[in-house]
């Protein structure tokens, strides 16, 4: 089965367009592709540092420190954990605007197994002061997120999972502003990344059962959209979060924090409980095992109404 990496590679074209206008843009990779046409058009501004995440982020921080606008292509599970201290200290504490584009996030790694599942990156990255964390839901949104990242004053982590084009998806993208992608009034489903596609399918399943579900695309995990969460709690009440991530610390964690502070809403978090996916399976089967496919989401949402 084809992984969703093609959407990461597609950013090479977006970055080339951006780099034509902005001479400060440089691109770093770690043996995950040559990102043509960028590397062909700007060979002197493309650096593949090999399989060395800590060095990769340190080098990118140095480039940013010296006035460049570095974009980094790096595998989500490895860059988020192996280079965590460089992300925290060299980019966060030292305030260097490094932009990380991280494919193979969530469960996209599928049958490659838990070494290649990035199911803690949202929690890790969102702990870093000054870090913006984006998790786009479809390929067009991924490109919008990449363009938006260049405008953010500070480091940005863009998490790319097994995303698919969403038909009729609105074109506006604002960092920190969740998108109501389906309206509804009985239950709110707050999803991020590839889970948005599953949440939309769950909305349709629920509709057939007479349940009206609002679906929000939480494409920004940090800063989290408190207003949209508060509105869902006030106007609807029951909320289900969906993410390819541990239920602790990611979208579910962020929403739980907001709801607790507001003293509002009821929450059920879908994601990985405190365990790895040790069964070997394809991506769609792993979603089922993890309870993150559309029928599981619909069942969880329905259970909130009992």
């Amino acid at each position: 089965m084809m992984l969703g990496f093609e959407w990461a590679f597609a950013q090479g074209k977006v970055l080339t367009e951006m780099a034509e206008k902005n001479p400060d843009i440089v691109l770093l990779s770690q043996d995950i592709g040559s990102f043509r046409p960028f590397s062909k058009r700007f060979p002197e501004r493309f650096f593949d540092v090999g399989i060395s995440e800590a060095n990769l982020i340190g080098v990118a921080a140095g480039l940013a420190h010296a006035g460049k606008l570095p974009f980094v292509m790096a595998m989500a599970p490895f860059v988020s954990m192996r280079a965590f201290e460089q992300l925290r200290t060299d980019c966060g504490y030292n305030r260097n605007s490094v932009k990380i584009i991280a494919p193979c996030s969530g469960l996209e790694g599928g049958y490659w197994g838990p070494t290649h599942h990035a199911v803690e990156d949202l929690a890790l990255l969102r702990m870093i002061p000054g870090m913006t964390v984006l998790c786009p839901a479809d390929p067009a949104e991924a490109s919008r997120a990449v363009r938006a990242a260049a405008e953010v004053d500070g480091p940005v982590y863009i998490r790319l999972g097994y995303i698919q084009p969403i038909e009729g998806y609105p074109e506006a993208f604002e960092v920190g502003r969740a998108v109501v992608i389906r309206e509804g009034s009985d239950v709110a489903i707050l999803a991020t990344g590839a889970s948005v596609t599953q949440a939309i399918a769950a909305h349709d399943l629920l509709k057939g059962q007479g349940i009206s579900a609002r679906v929000l695309n939480m494409h920004t995990i940090k800063p989290i959209d408190r207003e949209a969460i508060g509105a869902a709690a006030a106007e609807i009440g029951p909320i289900v979060t969906v993410e390819e991530h541990f239920v602790a610390g990611g979208l579910g964690g962020a929403v739980a924090e907001v709801l607790a502070e507001l003293g509002a809403g009821r929450l059920r978090r879908l994601g990985l409980e405190d365990q790895f996916i040790v069964e070997v399976a394809s991506y769609p089967d792993i979603l089922k095992l993890a309870g993150l496919d559309a029928p599981s989401i619909a069942a969880a949402a329905r259970s909130m109404l009992d």
Binding site: V49, G50, A54, G58, L63, H65, E85
Partner: protein, 270 residues
């Protein structure tokens, strides 16, 4: 052969830096004194001869203190550069001070906040790449400790710099032979260190880090024709403090009044 007047002036400067560090380590204040003392000649040569610390005739050079715990020598340099008053030394670590136990962006001329070992060389590579892209003559210097070389990230960076042919990058290893708890050789030996750097394709020089003529000479040989340069500077941890030289206690301690006086006497003789 380096200019003898310059060498004498820099030797005097190194002694002054050591006196400043003594002040910081007295009165019960514990500091990372051993590694601060061992880099006095290196820092004197860098900050009062080699580096353009601010934009001037040349674009400013870059300095990353990757062995961040020896920030005290940097603070001493700041005083000698007129960036802070010596009276500020006593504020070290107190609320509102600019002087922290590791490089803080609050202090003047600190480019990059370090402290966790093994970060500086990669950052230096990024800076050197940016300067080269800009066609600048700016140079980037990264000062590391020998214990620090036990961090794997250093060797990722060591592989990386020659790959990109960073002639404008100078790494310096302060080989004082000790790390926090014991001699490097007792914890995790690095030898053969010179061969390691050479095999990683660095222009490698080994010098006596307390011989100012050798230090200045090595800096004057930079840059090499092609590729990055590393200076392995053999030094003594706690250099100049008789009761600390070459002892594990030198890593992090305070000095008694007697030790301060004994050291001052020794430094005066030199």
């Amino acid at each position: 052969m380096s200019d003898p007047t310059l060498v004498r002036a820099l030797e005097h400067r190194a002694t002054t830096l050591r006196k400043h560090i003594l002040t910081m380590a007295s009165g019960g204040q514990q500091i990372h004194i051993g590694g601060s003392m061992s880099i006095a000649e290196l820092m004197a040569a860098l900050f009062f001869h080699f580096l353009q610390v601010e934009d001037g005739e040349r674009p400013r050079d870059h300095f990353i203190l990757s062995k961040g715990h020896t920030i005290h020598t940097f603070h001493a340099c700041l005083a000698e550069l007129g960036k802070i008053e010596t009276g500020e030394f006593s504020t070290l670590g107190q609320l509102g001070t600019r002087l922290a136990g590791h490089p803080s962006l609050k202090a003047p001329l600190v480019e990059f906040a370090t402290g966790s070992l093994g970060h500086g060389l990669s950052v230096g590579i990024g800076i050197a790449l940016a300067e080269r892209l800009d066609g600048s003559s700016s140079r980037t210097v990264v000062l590391m400790g020998d214990g620090e070389l036990q961090e794997g990230s250093v060797w990722e960076a060591a592989l990386c710099a020659p790959r990109f042919g960073l002639t404008n990058l100078l790494a310096i290893v302060d080989r004082n032979g000790f790390q926090a708890s014991a001699a490097v050789d007792r914890i995790l030996p690095l030898d053969p260190l010179e061969e390691k750097w050479r095999s990683f394709r660095w222009n490698t020089q080994v010098i006596d880090g307390h011989d100012m003529e050798a230090v200045v000479g090595a800096l004057e040989r930079f840059p090499a024709e092609e590729g990055p340069t590393v200076l392995i500077a053999d030094t003594v941890k706690g250099k100049g403090v008789p009761s600390l030289e070459g002892r594990a206690r030198a890593h992090f301690t305070t000095l008694t009044e007697d030790e301060v006086n004994e050291t001052l006497t020794t430094l005066e003789v030199e």
